[in-house]
């Protein structure tokens, strides 16, 4: 009722107030997006054009070669390394996390609250608190400077957030459904993967996306545990790229843009899952 009223009034005549509101909002959005626009303009510019006119002017001509040059200078490696790490970390992590979250929510587990608190500690611990012992551990296991080692670390550090999100969603799965399945003699494993997990599918998708983005963007563990250039993931590679080619802004911007594009696509297509996922985290 009230909704239809407001819609009607908004449609019939955009008064001065509404117009002003839109203008202010568009201006704010433009200012907010300036860094991204600058990045795009720099990436498609000729280096000479950039040196003369700076970042924030329309390019004289679009130079796509910046992208291919950046790609060949090393971004290709960084990109595929990030793809590899992310595509192993996310599914494995989600299986472990959802199993744990299921046990904590539906299996009448006496220690559920204590175990959950124990897991939550991981959300708050600064990564610096773990670096030295992890270095020793990874060294002992010969996992320094390997993508495998890095993936294992990512899975471990991903547990708290994953359990938090999955637990938030499993709690919304009605107990009655689980109880009914129990009465029918369904085993807990079956209940987990045939009932609870399918019901929590939106949560799984949300977590995939949040987790994928976080893994794609991770910097400090990669910085500490990857040593050779050909193994670097994107954020690390880009920062390194920027110190090595500090004056080639066009290529650097193109490299950054290559790193950002997958995130933008994920963001555009799965936007509502960001909201849902974060909602699950504070439920």
């Amino acid at each position: 009722m009230s909704q239809s009223l407001s819609k009607k009034s908004a449609r019939s005549r955009p008064d001065a107030k509404t117009t002003l509101f839109y203008i202010a909002l568009v201006l704010a959005a433009l200012i907010w997006f300036t860094p991204v626009i600058t990045l795009i303009l720099t990436a498609i510019k000729d280096a000479g054009d950039f040196a003369v006119n700076g970042a924030f002017s329309l390019p004289k001509s679009i130079r796509w070669a910046n992208f291919s040059e950046a790609w060949e200078t090393g971004v290709k490696n960084y990109f595929w390394n990030s793809v590899i790490v992310t595509s192993f970390k996310v599914p494995i992590g989600i299986i472990l996390e959802s199993m744990a979250a299921f046990a904590l929510t539906h299996m009448h587990f006496k220690w559920a609250n204590q175990v959950f608190t124990y897991i939550l500690i991981g959300l708050i611990v600064p990564i610096q608190m773990t670096l030295v012992p992890l270095t020793l551990l990874m060294n002992a296991l010969n996992l320094i400077d390997t993508l495998t080692g890095l993936t294992i670390l990512y899975i471990g550090f991903g547990v708290p957030f994953g359990v938090l999100v999955m637990r938030g969603f499993f709690r919304t799965v009605p107990v009655a459904i689980i109880e009914a399945a129990r009465l029918d003699g369904c085993s807990w494993f079956r209940i987990f993967y045939r009932i609870a997990l399918p019901l929590a599918l939106p949560a799984v998708v949300s977590l995939c996306i949040l987790d994928g983005v976080a893994t794609w963007n991770e910097f400090i563990l990669a910085q500490i545990f990857l040593r050779s250039d050909e193994l670097r993931t994107l954020p690390l590679g880009l920062v390194q790229f920027s110190t090595q080619f500090s004056t080639q802004y066009d290529q650097l911007a193109a490299a950054v843009l290559i790193a950002v594009v997958p995130i933008v696509l994920v963001f555009l297509f799965f936007q509502r899952y960001f909201v849902a996922g974060m909602g699950g985290a504070v439920k």
Binding site: V132, I155, V239
Partner: protein, 311 residues
């Protein structure tokens, strides 16, 4: 549910045995579900944490087999002889205050503006949230160009506006370098509070606002007396998460200033890295990590209490 089973068992002795076996299996089955996650989490996160605290009591270069037990001396050295530690601590404090004020209030303002449905509200939400999905290293790189002394947008704009006196080499000026970095960090930190506040606003029934308006309340009154009190829980979560994230800041410093100029933009997190990996002062490095963790706990304990309420 299980009590129903037990009652049946009391009536029929044969099933009582069966259900007891089932109960025993039940007791250990949750651990089986938890085992993989708990194992990797314990090895990768918890054990290193505890071991770091232990290492902070030693003088050690990280390489030689001999660790010298020195008790709390590392902490004493940090407090009395390590000037950069104090710079870092002060920077962390500034960073924390800025993080608690700026992204939270901007996020709340945007959430209130964008909560009402109007044409394009979704696009605006995406635009303002977008920086939050970028890697902080990337955010650092982008803003480094904006602050570039000659080619950067900021100085060019200032010159164009006739404010050439204000132009400077933003990230190389030891007196102010921290603040441009904080602005860049704020840009990327607004999205999360905005999202959480939007989610919080959506739980407030529209009728409450309507009722207040019918009673003659103006917008400010509606916000002060209705919206904000109902957002109390969301606000607490937002503040806690923002504070915890602020203390974790690292990538963006590394990408923008690398702690410089003259260590003036070091944070505890970056100074820990320098001491440990560049100067081989593992004892001092882990001691800083412990200090950082203790600071985090101040904000984290209420947060964890909240998250583990009612199960």
């Amino acid at each position: 549910m299980s009590s129903v089973l037990r009652k049946e068992g009391a009536v029929l002795p044969q099933t009582s045995k069966k259900s007891k076996i089932r109960d025993d299996r039940l007791r250990f089955l949750p651990w089986l579900f938890l085992a993989p996650a708990l194992a990797i989490y314990t090895v990768v996160v918890v054990y290193p944490m505890v071991y770091s605290a232990y290492l902070s009591l030693f003088r050690w270069d990280g390489v030689s087999p001999a660790k010298v037990f020195v008790g709390l001396q590392n902490y004493w050295i940090l407090l009395t002889q390590n000037d950069v530690f104090w710079i870092a601590l002060k920077n962390n404090a500034i960073w924390l205050v800025a993080a608690l004020l700026l992204p939270t209030s901007i996020g709340l303002g945007l959430a209130i503006l964008l909560n009402s449905r109007f044409r394009g509200s979704h696009i605006f939400r995406s635009i303002f949230y977008f920086p939050a999905v970028l890697s902080l290293a990337v955010v650092g790189l982008i803003w480094t160009w904006i602050y570039h002394p000659d080619l950067g947008l900021l100085n060019q704009m200032l010159s164009a506006l006739g404010l050439k006196v204000l132009t400077r080499n933003w990230l190389a000026d030891p007196n102010i370098a921290l603040y441009p970095v904080i602005i860049a960090a704020t840009w990327s930190a607004v999205g999360l509070p905005m999202l959480l506040f939007l989610a919080g606003l959506q739980t407030i029934p529209e009728e409450m606002h309507e009722a207040a308006k019918v009673e003659g309340a103006n917008r400010v009154q509606v916000f002060v007396y209705i919206t904000f009190p109902l957002l109390r829980e969301t606000t607490l979560i937002v503040l806690a998460i923002t504070a915890i994230n602020a203390l974790k800041a690292y990538d963006i410093i590394y990408a923008m200033t690398n702690g410089g100029p003259a260590n003036k933009t070091q944070l505890l997190s970056t100074w820990m890295y320098f001491l440990t990996y560049n100067y081989n002062q593992v004892g001092l490095g882990t001691a800083i990590a412990v200090v950082l963790f203790s600071l985090t706990l101040i904000f984290a304990i209420p947060y964890i209490r909240f998250m583990t309420r009612k199960v």
